[in-house]
């Protein structure tokens, strides 16, 4: 109960600060919009249709936007040594992971919530028949991104080059969920049977469960000096 209360307090604190400052959300959503625009205007219109390009661009853009947001997750705790106040709390270190993860998941879902309409607009995507499945892919991908992202942002925050190290360490671990989500979206776009996309949903679910468990076990070691 104490762990849950502490986790919820950490998540609520992060979301309150972000709501007040809007630093990560604003940066990430503007970044996503700019990447979409770059892809739209830089493609060869004669050889590559927007429809063919759309699924890959969506996931690459979201992965990069998420990186921008995750960078802030623990940098916030560096302010005035605030992380130490959390570490002094009489709760397990896992509570800190769950709190930060919940807040990060909230950020990423908001980013996705803003990026999806922009993607539909810029890429003239007709999503209605497959909307629920794409939304499910987005949710599962967000869970995976944030599970590994929370651990790596905690790992890099005490280093001098946290902002540079995080993408280098995190991106290799983001490739599997990025690949699964992208493949699932492509299949839905091509009008293949839903079962084709479901296998990618299953893989994403497996990745999420595995990394949430690993992250929960690893996080206390990352936090302890």
């Amino acid at each position: 109960m104490k762990t849950l209360r502490a986790a919820l307090a950490i998540a609520a604190k992060d979301l309150r600060i972000e709501w007040r400052t809007k630093t990560a959300l604003l940066t990430s959503t503007v970044f996503a919009a700019l990447v979409f625009l770059i892809f739209v205007f830089s493609r060869d219109t004669g050889t590559l249709s927007l429809r063919e390009l759309a699924p890959s661009v969506l996931w690459v853009t979201l992965a990069l936007a998420v990186l921008t947001a995750l960078n802030r997750a623990f940098l916030l705790e560096r302010e005035n040594g605030a992380l130490e106040a959390i570490l002094l709390a009489p709760v397990s270190r896992s509570a800190i992971f769950w709190g930060k993860w919940l807040a990060n998941l909230g950020f990423v879902l908001i980013i996705e919530g803003v990026a999806f309409p922009l993607w539909i607009l810029f890429f003239a995507v007709e999503l209605r028949p497959i909307l629920l499945l794409v939304a499910l892919l987005a949710l599962l991908a967000a869970i995976g991104f944030t599970a590994v992202g929370t651990v790596f942002s905690a790992m890099t925050v005490r280093t001098r080059f946290a902002e540079l190290l995080l993408p280098v360490m995190l991106l290799p671990f983001m490739i599997p969920p990025l690949f699964f989500a992208s493949q699932g979206t492509v299949r839905l776009f091509e009008g293949r049977p839903v079962a084709d996309a479901v296998q990618w949903l299953k893989l994403l679910t497996l990745y999420d469960i595995a990394f949430l468990v690993i992250a929960t076990m690893l996080f206390p070691k990352v936090m302890d000096e």
Partner: protein
């Protein structure tokens, strides 16, 4: 508050290595209720490492720390007995003073949060600025908020790591007065500072660290000048 007879903090055989570097070696320290232990030593003597281990923020390579009978590094509950005040405030600039304290209360699983927070704000004289963001506070006000945060959960142990850094004279006096109140209330205080004069008059005991070892552990002498001479000779021998 703990029983004055038995030590509240018992550290035995503390050793901390960073690769080949030995930051602390064979440190034993017991501190009882109502004591204010002043820890001094030159740069690199291991003062901050000792404080971080006593706070549960760092794990010793060898040895153990018991606080109120609980193993600090094995039982997360033991951290609830500790308040930590450093030169950093450990608060969020984008939260108000009240929000910072509410967050600290939630982390410690406290009941009656609003009453406790209000009491803590009153005690440090920040009630009139309770709904203002901490980022707008002066250094003195920030440190008062830090004291409220560190003592909100009523810890029997208060660890102070260079708490006077950046405080002006009235701010330092106010902090000293607060420390006297805490000590007389039976709280255990351990204070690391590079300037003994900051807490000399209110300290009950002096510990000198040198090269990661305790070079002196004695009741506070009456004469600071004499201590400075002894301390200087300890550093050159």
């Amino acid at each position: 508050m703990p029983d004055a007879e038995s030590p509240v903090i018992v550290a035995k055989g503390l050793e901390r290595r960073f690769g080949a570097l030995v930051a602390l070696c064979g440190v034993d320290l017991s501190v009882g209720a109502g004591e204010l232990v002043l820890v001094v030593g030159p740069n690199g003597a291991g003062k901050s490492t000792l404080m971080r281990i006593l706070a549960g923020l760092a794990t010793p390579t060898k040895g153990r720390v018991r606080v109120g009978g609980m193993d600090l590094h094995a039982d997360p509950e033991a951290r609830g007995a500790i308040g930590f005040l450093s030169h950093q405030t450990l608060v969020y600039d984008d939260l108000t003073a009240r929000e910072n304290l509410r967050f600290a209360a939630a982390l410690h699983g406290l009941d009656g949060v609003e009453a406790r927070v209000q009491q803590a704000l009153d005690a440090v004289g920040l009630s009139h600025r309770s709904d203002v963001r901490a980022g707008t506070f002066s250094r003195g006000m920030s440190q008062r908020l830090a004291i409220a945060r560190a003592t909100l959960h009523g810890p029997p142990v208060l660890l102070l790591d260079e708490p006077f850094t950046g405080l002006d004279s009235p701010g330092a006096d106010a902090l000293r007065q607060r420390l006297v109140v805490e000590r007389e209330g039976g709280r255990v205080l351990v204070c690391v500072t590079h300037e003994p004069a900051e807490v000399w008059d209110i300290a009950t005991r002096v510990v000198v660290l040198r090269g990661g070892r305790i070079a002196l552990d004695a009741p506070r002498p009456a004469d600071l000048a004499a201590f400075r001479a002894t301390y200087a000779s300890m550093l050159v021998t």
